[in-house]
């Protein structure tokens, strides 16, 4: 079988992924052991957090296998394993979070209510960012795995690093802008690195589902939304516990919810990690290793800087106690975070443009090849998300929901084929040419079923 990307060292990315995964486990293990030796940070969080991380890693492994496996029986078995392992990991971590750390003071009921309050907004965020991937939507399973990693694994990785850095900073620096800047460095470096690892792992392991800058932004934002979900619960319960004795607990938690889950939903962590994802996504399509490394590094740099800028300099924009304070909060977010979110949107728009024009060209070429997978009159429809949707609606009106779903599957397979052709043209895939032929057969089978 002939590989389109014939470099012999190609599979080394799996080795790098294994190294990264191993490093994540090592950090989590070290964190757990250190928690026993030095009782500076919530020790029980790391003790119980470690099994949660292991379960999440194992669940992710089986989840990824589901996406790669072709045998239906094996897929089903791995799906069940992934479901239970991820579920157990999440439950264990929620237990840790709710019972042993910040939520201890607020109580499990408050923690549960906070989690329930953050669920719809986070789900909305995920729905929106997935919709932005107009041409080839990523599978929900992978998007949710990215979110879960951001929420559970990434948050647990930063506990020790940030605690140690902050403990040293408060003992050496005077309170004020210098200390704030130091702690902002800590948050930017540790949190963005821990979130970026998840994006890097997806890039290394799930190359087939990580096509370009658009996918990078999507996965990065999903990891960021997951992190933001868990951080919101932590802050809401923490502030509830502080203000509850004054009878202002609900107000404090609600203010945090609005600030993090409404106003900052797309501006904060989602933007930062989307910038990392953009760097990784662009690197995905660059032929030279040096350029790839530069691109990934720049993504991390701007993400860390964006996070740092907010944490370090937000104190220079104090909010007044007057009614105008409400406006000021929004203006401050727009002024400080807006430029970075605008950068993400610009990268996304440029990526969509490149991707769109490539898909149109590949769809035309496929139509001209006469294989029957794409008809010439279908090219314009497939190139436009709106026209694709209208054609599915027509199918729904004429033949019902099953026809709608069949056509949706056919369109998705056709776009997958065009994307595969694009990557092969750019020597960006390591799957053999037979994989493309398999996609063609799949399209033809779906077309037969649809008609």
């Amino acid at each position: 079988m002939e590989a389109a990307y014939p470099r012999r060292w190609r599979p080394s990315r799996y080795g790098i992924a294994a190294l990264l995964g191993g490093a994540v486990l090592l950090v989590a293990t070290a964190s757990s052991i250190l928690s026993f030796l030095v009782r500076q940070v919530p020790a029980r969080a790391s003790l119980f957090g470690l099994p949660a991380v292991v379960l999440m890693v194992a669940g992710t492994y089986y989840g990824v296998r589901v996406l790669r496996e072709h045998e239906e029986a094996h897929r089903r078995r791995d799906r069940v394993r992934a479901f239970f392992l991820l579920g157990a990991g999440m439950l264990l971590w929620l237990l840790v979070l709710d019972l042993f750390t910040f939520t201890q003071a607020a109580g499990p009921r408050v923690a549960l209510l906070c989690a329930l309050a953050c669920l719809p907004t986070t789900a909305f965020g995920l729905f929106v960012i997935r919709r932005l991937d107009r041409n080839e939507k990523e599978p929900w399973r992978l998007v949710l795995i990215a979110t879960a990693w951001g929420a559970i694994v990434s948050t647990s990785l930063v506990v020790w690093g940030e605690s140690l850095w902050d403990a040293i900073a408060v003992r050496t620096l005077v309170p004020g802008p210098a200390l704030d800047a130091s702690i902002a460095y800590s948050a930017g470096i540790f949190e963005e690195t821990s979130k970026g690892v998840a994006v890097l792992l997806l890039y290394l392991v799930m190359r087939d589902e990580f096509d370009d800058v658009v996918d990078g932004i999507l996965y990065g934002a999903a990891v960021g939304l997951g992190f933001n979900f868990m951080e919101s619960i932590t802050y809401m319960t923490h502030l509830y516990a502080i203000f509850q004795p004054e009878g202002q607990g609900l107000d404090a938690a609600a203010a945090q919810w609005y600030s993090r889950q409404v106003l900052g939903l797309f501006f904060g962590h989602a933007t930062y990690t989307a910038l990392i994802g953009a760097g990784v996504g662009i690197a995905r399509q660059l032929p030279r290793l040096r350029d790839r490394l530069v691109c990934i590094f720049c993504g991390f740099l701007i993400a860390i800087a964006a996070h740092f800028a907010w944490d370090a300099w937000v104190q220079f924009f104090p909010i007044s106690q007057s009614a105008f304070g409400l406006v000021e909060i929004h203006l401050r977010t727009l002024f400080m975070e807006g430029p970075f979110t605008a950068l993400v949107l610009l990268l996304l728009a440029m990526g969509l443009r490149v991707e769109g024009s490539a898909l149109v060209r590949q769809l035309r070429a496929e139509a001209q090849s006469g294989t029957g997978t794409v008809e010439p009159e279908e090219v314009a429809v497939l190139a436009s998300p709106w026209r694709r949707f209208r054609s599915r609606l027509r199918a729904l009106g004429q033949s019902g929901l099953r026809a709608y779903l069949r056509l949706a599957r056919l369109q998705r397979a056709q776009l997958d084929l065009a994307m595969e052709r694009w990557h092969r043209e750019r020597n960006e895939i390591d799957a053999p040419l037979e994989a493309e032929d398999l996609l063609r057969k799949r399209v033809l089978a779906l077309r037969a079923a649809a008609t």
Binding site: R171, V174, P177, L275, A309, R426
Partner: protein, 164 residues
């Protein structure tokens, strides 16, 4: 050899440009640290914090033994041995609550003047609250130079309990 017509150069350049902006922002952060905590300010001085005591705001005196835990409704103040510091050194002390908000302090003034008045460092309950917020309260004793705090001379942490 890549033959695709779509160029990724603009995306690459934008990413590299963003990385440069990132470096500038982080450098600005470093400048902030250097400005507000300039190097070469270590005097070797250490402030001795005698203890944190229950405090009576009416008489401005401490009452009872030193403690590291206080109920929310109990005002408290720190006693610092100002006389142990060189008299001409300008110092101050601030309390920060669990939200890192300043909630009371003394100075900046010369150590001699603070020692002469036996200045205590009480925690003030912020307006709008009935009692102190629960959580860790940190006392920072700092040395001032040209009107800004430049060196941490001492630090103490006490806990305000949720109950009480």
């Amino acid at each position: 050899m890549v033959q695709s017509e779509e160029s990724l150069r603009p995306l690459y350049r934008l990413m590299v440009g963003s990385g440069v902006v990132g470096v500038l922002i982080l450098a600005l952060g470093l400048a902030t640290i250097l400005k507000f905590a300039p190097p070469g300010q270590a005097s070797g001085l250490k402030a001795r914090i005698v203890g944190v005591y229950p405090y009576d705001p009416a008489t401005h005196r401490v009452t009872g033994p030193a403690s590291t835990h206080f109920p929310r409704t109990q005002p408290f103040a720190a006693k610092v041995d100002w006389s142990a510091l060189p008299g001409g050194v300008v110092v101050g002390a601030r309390w920060y609550n669990t939200l890192d908000e300043p909630v009371g302090g003394v100075g900046p003034a010369t150590a001699a003047s603070l020692a002469a008045t036996g200045a205590l460092v009480p925690v003030m309950t912020p307006p709008g609250l009935h009692a102190n917020l629960p959580g860790n309260y940190t006392l920072a004793v700092t040395r001032y130079s040209r009107g800004q705090p430049v060196e941490l001379l001492g630090r103490e942490v006490v806990l305000v309990e949720r109950s009480g």
